[in-house]
Symmetry: C2
Subunit: 319 residues, 2 copies
Amino acid sequence: MFVGAFDIGGTKTIVGILDQAGKIKEKKVFPTQASDCYAHLDYCLVVLQQLLNRAGINKEELSGIGVTLPGVVNSEKGILVLAAYEKWENIPVASYISENFTGIDVYCENDVNACAIGEKLFGLGQQYQHYVWMTVSTGVGGAIVCNSELVKGANGFAGELGHLKVEYEKPEQCHCGQYGCLEVQGSGTALNRIVKERAQDNADFANDLRASGASVDGAGCASLANKGNQVAQDIFHQLGNYLGKGISYCANIVNPQAIIIGGGVAASLEFLVPGMQEAIAECTFEPMKNIDIRMTELGYEAALIGAAALVLRERKGGC
Amino acid sequence: MFVGAFDIGGTKTIVGILDQAGKIKEKKVFPTQASDCYAHLDYCLVVLQQLLNRAGINKEELSGIGVTLPGVVNSEKGILVLAAYEKWENIPVASYISENFTGIDVYCENDVNACAIGEKLFGLGQQYQHYVWMTVSTGVGGAIVCNSELVKGANGFAGELGHLKVEYEKPEQCHCGQYGCLEVQGSGTALNRIVKERAQDNADFANDLRASGASVDGAGCASLANKGNQVAQDIFHQLGNYLGKGISYCANIVNPQAIIIGGGVAASLEFLVPGMQEAIAECTFEPMKNIDIRMTELGYEAALIGAAALVLRERKGGC
């Protein structure tokens, strides 16, 4: 048996077929069509059928479809309650897909929550019962796992780490309207902004970027940091310090064994860790400071594997 | 049937007998003898027997004894792992009491966790599935309830709200060694300190305290606030703002429906709420701001009722 997986993100979607061990057999990446959610789901089903044909797998061999969505999801009812797109509101994703694809079982979840569930089944979650899954990419998101159970909270919003206040003295304004949120101080977007500011203020750093052919953004900064550039490493230290403050709040409140980091910026985790550890040491109650900081074992396709895990955990047991 | 309850606090202990509805039938309050934990437990049993005699209740009518302890408790094994007292370490409280009292079933828990469990059975926890129980007295403590389950975390430390960092610009040093912790900025101890400072800096406020016969501490400040004194109310506003920052971190991380406040300072909750709401509005992600702030329904003896609840929940179902 296999599972279908849709990772529907803010800008791109991945449709895949995975086996029961969470290995990707086939996948296709394409832009998310934000204008019409139903049309986008229709297209995901077309792609799924193409992938099944290519792999020589019958529809009947799929034990379900898992879908990760960029927003608030009522996973019991399979409804996307609210997404980043204006019109994506109260969409009955599970029933729509099921009706249009042989009545198959469909499971939906918020993307970061699905990563935490995927990690439980196929990654570091096999070692940890209490962990926080934190994604650091365009924004900062999170999911909380206590006693191997996903914490969802009153409205399914638990783990909104991006809006923890981590900068009080010179806070930037976040797109949410507030100031000093982790999302505006410690995300990939923040990294790009800081690199640009630093390149303007520091001619040597700007020259170093130019000389090594690195772009004036997070990717360029990562490239320089890898070459030992101190300013680039300091920028990651600052970013890590903000992330560490958010981690310290989590540590004091839910006492996790580990923070598992995913998302694009996680590729530079080695340069983030010193700043993270500095903030954790400064802001966490002594007995809870001993937190493992680990990179996800699910890799770049964490959310796609998470989508498959939504189906597979029904059999294997999971979050 | 009845239950025995020991609320062993940092400075005082309450031994009581409660009925199955959580009502206190008999109780006695006495100082905690920190020098010898076993001698103190022996004395608690002597008091329990006195109370049984007074009430005309046989030992056999007790269905168990619940014990709340001021520290880290391994509740499964009934062990006090670590307390504020140097020698109170790895004490097998449950087995010791059971061996010395007819082999009775004994249940142990950290005091604030027990309050949260008591609230579930006999208070506001009947209305809420997701809540944070926050005690504001000498220190600040907390307990997290998600899906009607107590969150304990990796080492049983979850809910250590007292060491959340809430002041970055002019932080006071906490007894834990760190700076700006909620415990040093927003506790009853902090309240006493702020009142003393304000009375030194502000002659009118000092005069108002003196004129109304109020003491230069939290109690005096509460008394003046009740009479409409603006400086006294501003002090509570400041304290509430710090507590609200801690609440905002909880809201973003575990998305509770309510914060339930207990402890001595909670008596002045009406003066804390405006500052709390200001901080919640400033630091919480929009969809999670709608948090009820409620005073515990368990009253002054919350931890004693919590101790009884440890026994009673085994029958009624609870956290």
